[in-house]
């Protein structure tokens, strides 16, 4: 009786502890990976569609086959202002080689965005995220935040902070179509 009982007991204990371990792993997994939909390097950039300042609605998926620089900005953000000319400069250089720069304005009205765009001579498409939906989708914290997206839609790099021309040029090499 004793021996049989003892091994049974061990199995029961292993089963109970195993079950509880599964619960622990699940709980830990779900608290660590709290945000399974977060945009990350190596993953596909989630599709979206936004109205352009002075243009038709534009969807990210329509730009497959091109390298996309997705820049989130606001007129209240100093470093955003400072990097605008650099973005414009690189856009001029590579727009014929398959580069699209998209500036996503966060929650402002066209009346506030338009003069700003004119002042800095921005010519690349400006998208208006009036309700900050895409800003939330891309989990934007501090701005400027810039996503470098390869022609197949994969996010190659996420950069938070002000970019200069050299930095942009360097990162473009990863996403420009060959």
């Amino acid at each position: 009786m004793g021996i049989m009982n003892k091994s049974n007991r061990t199995y029961v204990r292993i089963a109970v502890l195993g079950l509880l371990l599964v619960a622990l792993v699940f709980a830990l997994y779900s608290s660590f990976v709290k945000d399974p939909d977060a945009v990350k390097v190596g993953r596909a950039a989630p599709n979206f569609s936004l109205e352009q300042l002075n243009g038709p609605e534009l969807a990210l998926d329509d730009l497959k086959g091109k390298g996309v620089v997705l820049n989130f900005w606001g007129t209240w953000c100093e470093p955003c202002k400072k990097e605008m000319p650099a973005l414009q400069e690189q856009y001029n250089k590579f727009k014929d080689k398959g580069l699209v720069v998209l500036g996503v304005n966060i929650g402002e009205s066209p009346v506030a965005v338009e003069p700003f765009v004119k002042q800095f001579g921005v010519e690349f498409p400006i998208l208006l995220d009036r309700q900050s939906q895409i800003t939330k989708l891309y989990r934007i914290g501090p701005i400027p935040t810039t996503f470098f997206i390869a022609p197949d839609g994969e996010v190659k790099e996420i950069f938070i902070g002000q970019l200069n021309e050299a930095m942009i040029a360097d990162k473009l090499s990863k996403i420009l179509p060959k």
């Binding site: 004793g2 003892k6 007991r9 061990t10 204990r13 292993i14 109970v16 502890l17 509880l20 619960a23 622990l24 699940f26 709980a27 830990l28 779900s30 608290s31 660590f32 709290k34 399974p36 989630p46 599709n47 979206f48 569609s49 936004l50 109205e51 609605e57 969807a59 606001g74 007129t75 209240w76 100093e78 966060i106 929650g107 402002e108 009205s109 066209p110 009346v111 506030a112 338009e114 003069p115 995220d129 309700q131 900050s132 939906q133 895409i134 800003t135 939330k136 989708l137 934007i140 914290g141 501090p142 701005i143």
Partner: protein
């Protein structure tokens, strides 16, 4: 060796305190009452205390310790308390669109302590990995502590202790013995005792020279039933982490605005927000409010829409109205699994500026009125025949930038500055002017056009809490089971009375798991009724 033989012939597992069969104390020599084993688990061998050779047994033993369980509970208690010192991130009462805003909120509102609080992650305490781990450890401890005790207890109680060793009876808190007359009919005495106890609601177990009367055994299961309730409750809490089971979002919506509810295909519009106050006639007594007022109701009149274009975020929504009605505190708008609660408000916020364009060279004659919507301004408006107002620049939250040029601090219209151009097509005149902080600056000193102000549009911004919680039924069910367990354990007691005869003596002993006073009364009643020659002694346990 994991067995031990009692003198009655029964073999008991190692760790048994009272022989499973005859009740004789096994390890202790009973000289004094204080050494008699505790009856809580019927003197059964708790397996966890017996074997600790394998690693699996060691883990099991650690979790079966009540001391460790209490330790875990204290840590959870302290952490939970700390989590309530400042609001959790989801309950921040102002809009915080980005992580940086969240950090700034804690620092600006609560100072250094707030910064520390944020940095240590207390702003998201209840879903942090270590808090969740503690909850699972508590659940583990609950399961193992219960299993470790309920199994031997069940085994013990399903074999009623009939015909016990004298030392077992003597060890009970209530005990008495007395000499019987040699001619007394012992069987008849036991019969009478059985009848008397049966009348009191006891279940009788009978042997030739012994009876055991028992009632309320089920109350011993109370603690285990309430643990099952707690475990269900914890499973419910964990289920919130399954995708789609739980959503807790906060949206701010202005009167007249339609906004997307994040993580759902819905949009919500606020048609009107209103706070109503108690009038003085409604108050039962006069209160010194010093001009203040007490709110009666917070209400957003809302329309809920389903977006048919929800598959592509940001795409121009195609909205279909699904519901319309008031959202009042504690009376959410419910759509399927989604509940939308009224939970915050910012009243009287600037929504639009109302201007009147006047002709300064013509005795300030009014030319026409126009509205400047601070959230969605029109680029150009015709104010009067041939006269247009064009927006040149708009800074919602004006600040002088570091480069000496006007700029905006945020995208919220807290301090709007507007540069306008007035174009009179017929007279071929164009003038620029700037509005800032309640005054107008004209380009020229003898300008023709000027602005006067009318009352601005003030809007109320409703804070709505959007929730899905599919685990709620399980959480309530667990709480209900918990209550049943508590009631079982609190309002009933497990009472046992033993009457045995041995040679020329009668032995009487009684045990209960609580309410000794009640048991004592029943035992005294029995002694009186049967006129037993015993004096009950009630021992106090150390």
């Amino acid at each position: 060796m994991d067995q031990r033989k009692c003198e009655c012939g029964h073999t008991n597992p190692v760790g048994t305190l009272l022989c499973e069969s005859c009740g004789k104390p096994l390890d202790v020599e009973v000289f004094e009452q204080t050494q008699f084993p505790d009856m809580r688990y019927e003197g059964m061998a708790r397996r966890s205390q017996t074997y600790s050779k394998k690693w699996i047994d060691r883990i099991w033993n650690a979790f079966s310790s009540v001391k460790i369980a209490i330790g875990i509970i204290i840590v959870i208690l302290v952490a939970s308390a700390v989590g309530t010192v400042f609001p959790q991130q989801q309950y921040i009462p102002v809009p915080v669109p980005t992580e940086a805003d969240v950090a700034r909120f804690y620092t600006e509102t609560y100072g250094t302590l707030g910064t520390v609080y944020y940095e240590l992650g207390f702003h998201n305490l209840y879903s942090s990995w270590w808090f969740v781990t503690l909850l699972v450890l508590l659940g583990t401890s609950l399961v193992i502590c219960s299993l470790d005790r309920v199994v031997p207890l069940y085994k013990a109680l399903s074999k009623p202790r009939l015909n016990q060793h004298k030392s077992f009876l003597k060890g009970q808190k209530l005990f008495g013995e007395g000499e019987l007359a040699p001619e007394a009919d012992q069987a008849e005495l036991l019969d009478r005792a059985a009848v008397a106890l049966k009348k009191k609601g006891y279940r009788i177990f009978r042997a030739e020279r012994a009876i055991m009367a028992e009632k309320g055994r089920f109350s011993r299961w109370g603690p285990y039933v309430n643990h099952i309730g707690l475990i269900l409750f914890l499973i419910g809490v964990l289920m919130r982490n399954i995708p789609g089971f739980y959503l807790d979002e906060y949206v701010w919506v202005r009167e007249g605005q339609t906004v997307a509810i994040p993580s759902t295909p819905y949009y919500i519009k606020s048609e009107n927000y209103e706070t109503t106050y108690w009038s003085e006639e409604e108050m039962p007594e006069k209160l010194e409010l010093n001009g203040g007022a007490i709110p009666k109701n917070f209400q957003t009149d809302a329309v809920l829409y389903l977006n048919k274009n929800a598959d592509v975020p940001g795409k121009k929504p195609e909205l279909v109205e699904v519901q319309k009605g008031p959202i009042v505190v504690n009376h959410p708008m419910i759509e399927g699994d989604i509940a939308i609660y009224q939970s915050g408000v910012q009243e009287m916020q600037l929504g639009a500026l109302n201007f009147v364009l006047v002709d300064a060279k013509n005795g300030n004659k009014e030319l026409g009125a126009f509205k400047f919507d601070l959230y969605n301004p029109e680029a150009e408006q015709e104010v009067a025949a041939g006269i247009k107002v064009r927006v040149l620049d708009y800074f919602p939250d004006f600040i002088m930038g570091s480069d000496g040029k006007p700029a905006t601090k945020t995208n919220l219209p807290k301090n709007p500055m507007v540069a306008l151009e007035i174009v009179d097509g017929t007279a071929q005149v164009s003038e620029k002017l700037v509005y800032l902080q309640g005054s107008v600056l004209t380009q020229k000193e003898d300008a023709r056009f000027n602005l006067t102000f009318q009352k601005p549009d003030l809007v109320d911004i409703s804070g709505l809490n959007v929730r899905i919680d599919k685990a709620v039924p399980l959480i309530y069910f667990g709480s209900f089971i918990f209550m049943i367990g508590v009631v079982m354990g609190f309002f009933w007691q497990h009472r046992r009375i033993w009457v045995q005869t041995q040679d020329e003596t009668v032995l009487l002993a009684a045990h209960t798991n609580k309410n000794w006073f009640g048991l004592r009364r029943e035992v005294d009643g029995l002694v009186d009724q049967l006129q037993l020659p015993v004096t009950i002694e009630e021992k106090t346990k150390a």
